[in-house]
Each structure stands twice: as C-alpha cells, then as structure tokens.
Symmetry: C2
C-alpha cells in the first residue's frame, strides 16, 4: 500500500510525525506537506506564484518533501510531479485542533483529504480535539487502523472520511460514532486592538457551537468523548433543490 501523507500544520509538526511512524508499519509512506504551518487555508491552491519543494529530514533520516504551498497543492504536486504511481490512499493529519462541523471548509488538513477524493483516491483526514497539550498516541494508531480499512474496502468515488479524535487517554474514549457534519455556524468573534502606530486592528476567533447531547452529529459526539467518522462528499450539489431551480423562470 502506497500512502501519501500530508497536513496543514506543516512538515515539522508533531502530529504528522507520529502518524507517519504508525503508517510506516502498514505501507510505504510518502510525506508531502507544507514547509511551514498553513492552518485555516481551506481548499486554497497556489496559482499566482511559483511552488518550490525541498527534501526534509527528521531525526537525521529522510522524511519527506516540504512544499511552499497549501495542503491541496501538496496533493496535486505529489501526484503531478513527485510520484510515478498514484498513491492508494491519501491521509491528512494528525491536525492539532478539531475539524468538525463547518471547519471542514476552513481546514487545510481536511482540504488535503478532499483533494485526494477529487482526484479519485480514497482519502482520510484525522484531527485531534485540542489546541494545547496534545496526546497523539491513540489518534496515530487509530489513523493507521482506518487507513488499512479504507485500503481494503475502498470508499465511494469522491467521498472521504473526516475523523476527529478526543484528546483523552484511550481508555476514556467511549467508542466510535458514524456522524453527520454539524451545520451550526462558527460565527467570527473579533477582538479590536491598537497596533504600535495606534491603528485599529482586529483578531478573529470562532464562537464554537454549544454542546448538545446528540451523538449523531460530529461536533457533539466529539464533545461527548467519541471518535467521530464523518463521510464527506465532494459533489456538493443540492439535488433536492435542483428540481426547484429547474422550474425557475428568470
């Protein structure tokens, strides 16, 4: 099994390294990841400036390719330039921070998996539900397990798995839930400050949805200490409403 591994925290992040170590046990891993952090770049791609790559070592060993672009660029670049054969699976992560609900649009890590799916490759995004004190141990092992499963059983064309893992000891994890994407919006919250020249600036954070007891939805199941697996389509047509658009007279 040939695994293409990417992320948005950058090739020097801890999460990608620990996932790499687990994936190595089950297949050939090619790491193609941004040369520095590209969090929240969504599914952006680099069309208006050049892209470079460099060979990256970690722990004195060849580790992968660092790309001057986004996670989606990395997947395109790997397939278009670096690899002779298409990978069997694209894995993106482990992300530092959850990517449930609307974050599937903001996240570069999720976009790495979506790009794989667009290109017809079974793909998985894996994220850890914390921004501080991450413990990637369980997520890395689970990532390898689900990668093996996806390789054996494949996925519907254009669909990828968005996996979120609670940041708690594996014994405390309550189980695995198949979930749908939470659609509660993440409203921007803007903190106004003054820069050294006394000009106003704003810093955005997100207001996350209030926790609910509904383990069928990724955000809430994750908050209730379940690993969540949300299958995400890359065809985003609203087929129900399409019929009404057909009857439009403009």
């Amino acid at each position: 099994m040939k695994i293409l591994l990417t992320n948005d925290d950058g090739i020097y992040a801890e999460g990608i390294y620990l996932l790499y170590e687990q994936l190595k046990k089950i297949g050939e891993v090619i790491v193609v990841a941004p040369d520095s952090e590209r969090s929240a770049v969504g599914h952006g791609i680099t069309l208006s400036r050049p892209i470079w790559y460099k060979n990256v070592k970690r722990k004195q060993k060849a580790f992968g390719y660092g790309i001057s672009g986004t996670p989606a660029d990395c997947v395109k670049f790997a397939i278009g330039v670096l690899l002779k054969v298409k990978p069997d699976v694209v894995v993106s992560g482990i992300n530092l921070g959850p990517n449930d609900g609307c974050s599937v649009f903001y996240s570069g890590t999720v976009a790495g998996a979506r790009e794989g799916a667009l290109l017809g490759i079974p793909s998985i995004a894996i994220s850890l539900d914390t921004f501080i004190n991450p413990d990637y141990t369980f997520a890395a092992k689970f990532g390898a397990k689900i990668t093996k499963h996806v390789y054996k059983n494949t996925l519907p064309k254009g669909t990828f798995l968005n996996v979120n893992v609670p940041n708690i000891k594996s014994l405390k994890i309550r189980g695995i839930k198949a979930t749908r994407q939470c659609t509660v919006p993440i409203h921007g919250s803007f903190r106004k400050k003054k820069d050294p020249n006394l000009k106003d600036y704003y810093w955005m954070t997100g207001k996350v949805p209030t926790q609910k007891n509904n383990d069928k939805i990724d955000t809430y199941a994750l908050g209730n200490n379940y690993v969540t697996i949300t299958p995400i389509k890359s065809d985003s047509t609203d087929y129900d409403y399409l019929k009404e658009v057909e009857s439009l007279r403009l």
Copy 2:
C-alpha cells in the same frame, strides 16, 4: 433589501463594480471585499494574524470596505464588526474566470457565498467564463435579477446558488440551465523552470475537463453557452455512505 457584496478579485476589480451598479438599483449595497486579489484562496480564513480594513472610494465616491483578508473573512467581518443588521442576501462576484465543477472548492468567490450560507443568509456566487476580455454587462444584470428572486423566494437553509455566465453577447446566450456540479477532477499541470539563482521552481495550472454534450452538468452547459445555476449545499455529509460507516467494526 440589504445586500452584502464581496468577491475574490479584490475591491478594485471591474466585476464587483459593475455588479454593484446593478445591485444599487434594487437595494442597499454594502461592499466588503479583499483589499487586493485573493483568487483561489478557497474557504481560507485569517486566524493567525490581524485583520485591518480601510474605507475605499471608487470614481470619487464612497464605495466600500477593503479588508486585509479572504472573501470568507469579509463576510464574517462584515457581520461581526461592520454591520448592525444581518444582510438579507450575500452576493459574491462577478468573478473574472469560471467557477464550475471542482473550482467551487478552490474559488474564494464561491467561498464568500458559502460563508453567507453557513451563517444562514441566502447567498449567490457569480462568475464570468473568461480570463481575458471580460464583458460583464449581461452577468451584472442577471446578477441583480437573481438576487431579487432569491430575496423574494429565499433558499433552503445552508444552500447557495453558484452562477456561471458565458462571456458572449447576451443574444448568443442559449438560455439558463439548472445544473449539477461537475465532478471531473482538475488535475494540476506543473511547468518546471529555473529562477535567477538557477533553483528549480514549478508553476501550477489546471487541466480542465474535456467538453461534453451534457447540459445537466455545469462545466459542459457553460461550455455550450448556457448560464448555469448550480445549487450548492453546505452540509457535505455523504448520507448514503453514512449507513455503511455505522456498521464499521474497527
């Protein structure tokens, strides 16, 4: 009707100005757009650095707010900071270049509309199918027409309209088609060159899908000189496959 207008070509682009002129005739227009071009930034948002805005004039008149961020930032910033009341409709465009098929993920313009939809506002993205010699006349008028329609009839929660317009004289436009999103991948094509220091760099372009006679799909209907309207959902859960994920034993 309160219309929030954004784009990804930037607040000084021609397309947003001509659309503004038409929208002004049917409602109050608040322009909140990136302070320079942000093409292909996808649904990226700015979390790791500050955001500024400035008041922008065009043709010696107050025109709108120029934001140091992405189109999705613009929508969040408009609602979180600049506006006292939520807009009735979010319109994003007119984009220079088509946003059919997989480009709905790469495009900042489409992300502007998706962000509106995520925040519960009926939203529309409008793009013109050319990169050179644009004639926005028809697209701007059509944009106002469909905005009025959406204001009157609203849209399903979380769904927005992705409109693409051929760059031909209005008499040659064959009609309007309700379409689904083309899922043929846009493979990256990379041109290798040497920089002044003789270091290799790559420049990405996209290989667009081969034209087909299928006017139910946005890419092909657009190529056949139809205006395309694709309803796009922001819940991207694959509900069919969700059942299989539920039966997973990992």
